[in-house]
């Protein structure tokens, strides 16, 4: 996988647009089972990322990802800032400048473990990990862009019947059941936007 400068900028703009255009939806999801700030927070964070263009895309892919992560950490505001920001920063730490698919598989695995540590959470607790973990499995299994995007969307849907164990939604106990996890939704939007730009081809 080789991303030139134009592709890197396209990737950043697509990631940002995916959450900014769905900010109201994310806020509505968060109002149901959280504090209702997820859409606004993610919009602010990715707005700040966009503001670092065009210089951001001049950086190598790893440096660009680390910068995106740090910007999200500093600007998002909620717990999502450190969680999503850590994911991007660890991807940047783990990826070479010209990653092969195997590099991406290994880097996403590391990044997911960092998110688990940051949130002291595991899959199954109605968090973004419920999207990241199954999507990473599809990536590792050789799935193409369509399969990855489909899994991301389905995985977010699968959080709806889950009981929240972590975060503000856990205060609601069983009332958290029946609502999609906002963090899973934003993760699925970001993944959908990323694979659309990266256009993975199945490796097997």
């Amino acid at each position: 996988m080789s991303l030139d400068r134009a592709a890197r900028e396209k990737l950043v703009r697509a990631l940002a647009a995916s959450v900014i255009e769905h900010a109201d939806e994310l806020t509505n999801l968060d109002q149901a089972i959280g504090d209702g700030d997820h859409g606004l927070n993610m919009k602010r964070g990715f707005g700040a990322v966009i503001a670092t263009l065009p210089g951001l895309a001049d950086k190598s892919l790893p440096e660009m990802l680390k910068t995106i992560g740090m910007t999200l950490v500093m600007k998002v505001g909620g717990a999502s800032g450190p969680l999503v920001g850590t994911f991007f920063m660890e991807l940047g730490n783990a990826l070479p400048e010209q990653p092969a698919r195997a590099d991406l598989v290994a880097a996403t695995d590391k990044a997911i473990n960092a998110v688990k540590a940051r949130g002291r959470s595991e899959a199954g607790q109605k968090t973004l990990l419920d999207v990241l973990v199954p999507v990473q499995a599809v990536l590792a299994g050789g799935g193409d862009a369509r399969a990855i995007a489909a899994e991301a969307a389905q995985a977010a849907d699968r959080t709806t019947p889950m009981l929240a164990i972590r975060g503000r939604a856990s205060f609601l106990g069983e009332r958290s059941i029946g609502h999609m996890d906002p963090g899973s939704r934003s993760a699925s939007l970001l993944i959908g936007a990323a694979v659309n730009v990266l256009e993975f081809e199945a490796s097997s």
């Binding site: 504090d35 700030d37 606004l40 927070n41 602010r44 950490v73 500093m74 600007k75 505001g77 909620g78 717990a79 999502s80 800032g81 450190p82 969680l83 920001g85 850590t86 940051r118 949130g119 972590r166 975060g167 503000r168």
Partner: protein, 133 residues
């Protein structure tokens, strides 16, 4: 007080609400005066309810003491952002900042009271955490 003010453990209050953070800091000051370094932070970068890493880093800097800093937080994001801020500190400072598992208002007052007597960081943290244990 058995030590000069600036050498006592510092107290940082982190709340989603700047009003709560400031109010808790007022309660600490009422209890211990200027006996402990104290700082508060609250709100997201736009001033809405939330917490932000830069604000937390700044508060830790303001309340810095060679004896360390005890951070009191309210809900989830305040804790996650505080942990992130601690990791971003220079390495020699990282081990001297602790996040207390205690209610933000009560914990801050108790921790500051313990600190005002010159107690070390571990004792300050323990005092806040044991009050409701």
């Amino acid at each position: 007080m058995n030590s000069s003010n600036a050498r006592n453990v510092g107290i940082v209050i982190v709340s989603h609400s700047p009003k709560i953070a400031e109010g808790a800091a007022d309660m600490v000051r009422q209890m211990v005066g200027n006996a402990v370094p104290l700082a508060w932070t609250g709100g997201d970068v736009d001033g809405g309810l939330g917490t932000n890493v830069a604000g937390i880093l700044e508060a830790i800097e303001t309340a810095w003491s060679p004896a360390g800093v005890a951070v009191l937080v309210d809900l989830g994001g305040a804790e996650t952002n505080s942990e992130m801020a601690v990791e971003m500190l220079p390495e020699d400072r990282r081990a001297r900042v602790v996040i207390c598992n205690a209610p933000v208002v009560e914990g801050a007052v108790i921790a500051a009271t313990e600190s005002s007597g010159g107690s070390p960081l571990a004792a300050v943290k323990r005092s806040a955490e044991e009050f409701y244990a």
